[in-house]
Symmetry: none
DNA sequence: GATGAATGAGCGTTCATTCAT
DNA sequence: AATGAATGAACGCTCATTCAT
């Protein structure tokens, strides 16, 4: 899948176990990606079926199966692509920045700001994909097959990105005990707050459209305070 | 549903819209609750069906429908019960504690520590319910019906608990801008870290059994630092 | 399933593992039996599906599944019913016959003569069932599941009938070494010759309609000669 | 397909209607034969598909279709090859034997003894093919297309072999009324007993491995007694 | 109130086959 | 000659739900 920025064009690779035939290798494959994002957005992952997708792209289920063995794997493909793309954005945005604090700040901004469409990738609507990730990505791992899928390495993209950011934290404060937990919390929370803002506003304080970047603000502050060296002076509660 | 502690026995009420016939009003109803928790734990919410549940309780689907209009509502019932029960625990543990900091600390401990079985409620295995909540509760709102269900007030328990804790935060630091977001982040993260520890350990730093309470430690520290008055002196990144 | 002869009415029981809900316990069940025989006869077991059957009985697949877990089991049910019915016929025809030779002769006649409709059983067309057994019964065991099914006892009816006749042979000539093999050969050959007469006449010598009972004649002679005591004086071939 | 014995090398021809492109004319064709036997043996003819076969030979379904128009025809090809090979063995083993009895005896031994691998034909594992014939060959004719296929002459190999042996019987006893039926019964029974010995031992008396040749013994005795001139003195049963 | 039976709808999957290259 | 891609059609099965008892 091609991504271009400033005229540079790179290709994002997704783990081969996630598809049968590479959806990037043909027009039909790209149609599948494009419309699966659209359709999941419209009707939700539970209602999304290969039959409906096939109907929409004017083809048949058998064709879709040629590319993806199951809708689970398709979701995993989409989220993996998203995390790869995010990592690429991060890489680009932080390269040549010497200050680790600065790199962390940039990384958090990238991770937490709402995504809007971008025409670097012709058949991927990043804005739509972002909404899919917000509402559905946790279903990629919240299921019975998670262990088997993890053994197959299907969550590598997510884990790699998490690690990349955790590594910056370790650089800043090698003593901090929960870098990975902090990053995964931020990554998930960023999406959660977006979802809550839209559907369950009582559970958040950020506004629906978040034009002022409150999510970024909230989470950046959270992280920088958390990793500040030195213990807080607080009293332990009784048992 | 009855809960007893120190010999006191109270009844937790779940919103009436969540069930047809009150499952607490009959033996059959209680069997349904008991075995739905067990079954969801075993096979996951996606594979869980009223047919399988009926088989297990030696009855028929029609009987289950008498109590719950759909498996969605049953899940909502279970999670609501869980949040109500959590709020009750909180209430009990913080009553008569004057210091807001202390109350917050206690609340966070209750919210974030793993739950183990407790025989206060004969037909609810809280340990099992906790595992259901960890792995499945987000599916209660991550679906297309969330807005309609929210309008019906079906997430009241969750929101009330979130608010209760957010209010303590406001008491401590009225200036803090994201109390609700912070609490919902902590509530979800606490479950998430538990899930990650078991299935995707690369995404967390807490150990699978968390006997030392690292999750509580991690999140308590996070919260207290976040709400500490006074801004961090940090440099803004370029655009 | 009821069978009547001379005004007597008995019920043939088929092993309970072969069905979900007893097809004899309801009208719908009896319709399923009746039309599955008809349909298999018309289009063959390979083309026979629960969908087509459901269509024919004006119901749905789900209803059929209530009675039979798979078309394999349905076939097994039909053949088991057939063998049970055959054993019942045998029992009736041989009871009070003292001569073992005579009993064997009667048994062979029953086993090998073509079956024509009989209105003892209202919703089973024995003639049609006989044609199903001739053309399809071997598929009940010629498949990968045979061992598992045998362990479940699903071939008991066939084996019991085989044993019943083999026991008569042992009574006549306890020295004969292959009573079971001889009987199973006769049972299968009887159907095979019927099938060959209709479809591959070069492989048999009996005429299509076999009004003169040549199959019975051929096989009866075969059996009685085989079990005649005393070895044939024949020369062994070289290696 | 080449067969060699004692250094002599002959080619067995299979009816041309059974294939598109001659599978013996290319490496790919021979791979198809080799692996179809292996695959049918492993998963059974019902589960066997051109897709799975293509996968195994590292090619595509389209390629297989170039050689065989359907899996039915492929099975017919394999069984025809088997019967041709059997007839060839018979021919070889009986040539120059003057005594008809002796020839029959030899023929029966060839027909009824279990086959083990033989390296006369490099890409046909006769042992495996034998197992396919035992378990699957009857499906070549037990289907709706039998009449059309028979009209096309697709069962010629089977019928020719049957006739060859029946002719020996006629030579021995021209009065015997069922020579073809007797031979087809023996041919099928020989496979059936082999199958029963392995899967439904209650239906036979021969042991699973039959190292002592009981099948041959059982069937040879059967045949020689059957064709012995002179009627058995037996009493007819009443109606 | 609980149950047995039935049903419409749809899902995920696979198959045999064809066409263009 | 071999292959890659696509497709129409159907299959087996399960689900959520309803109705009559």
């Amino acid at each position: 899948m091609n991504v271009s920025a400033n005229g540079v064009r790179v290709t994002l690779h997704v783990d081969e176990k996630l598809y049968g035939k590479d959806p990037n290798s043909s027009d039909m494959g790209r149609r599948i990606l494009e419309h699966s994002i659209g359709l999941i957005n419209e009707i939700g992952f539970e209602s999304f079926t290969f039959r409906k997708l096939a109907q929409r792209i004017g083809s048949t289920e058998a064709t879709v199966y040629r590319y993806f063995p199951s809708k689970q794997r398709l979701l995993l493909y989409l989220t993996s692509w998203y995390w790869n793309w995010m990592e690429y954005r991060l890489l680009l945005a932080t390269s040549n920045v010497v200050s680790a604090e600065q790199r962390l700040r940039i990384a958090l901004r990238e991770l937490t700001q709402p995504i809007v469409a971008d025409d670097a990738t012709p058949h991927i609507d990043e804005g739509a994909l972002y909404r899919v990730v917000v509402a559905e990505s946790s279903k990629a791992y919240l299921n019975r097959d998670v262990d088997a899928e993890n053994r197959e390495g299907l969550f590598r993209s997510y884990k790699r990105l998490c690690r990349t950011v955790a590594d910056i934290i370790k650089e800043i404060n090698p003593e901090y005990r929960y870098p990975a937990a902090l990053v995964s919390t931020v990554m998930e929370s960023s999406h959660m707050q977006k979802y809550f803002a839209e559907h369950l506003p009582a559970l958040t304080d950020v506004s629906q459209h978040d034009r002022d970047g409150s999510t970024t603000d909230f989470l950046t502050d959270l992280v920088f305070r958390a990793i500040q060296p030195g213990a807080l002076q607080v009293q332990q509660p009784g048992p």
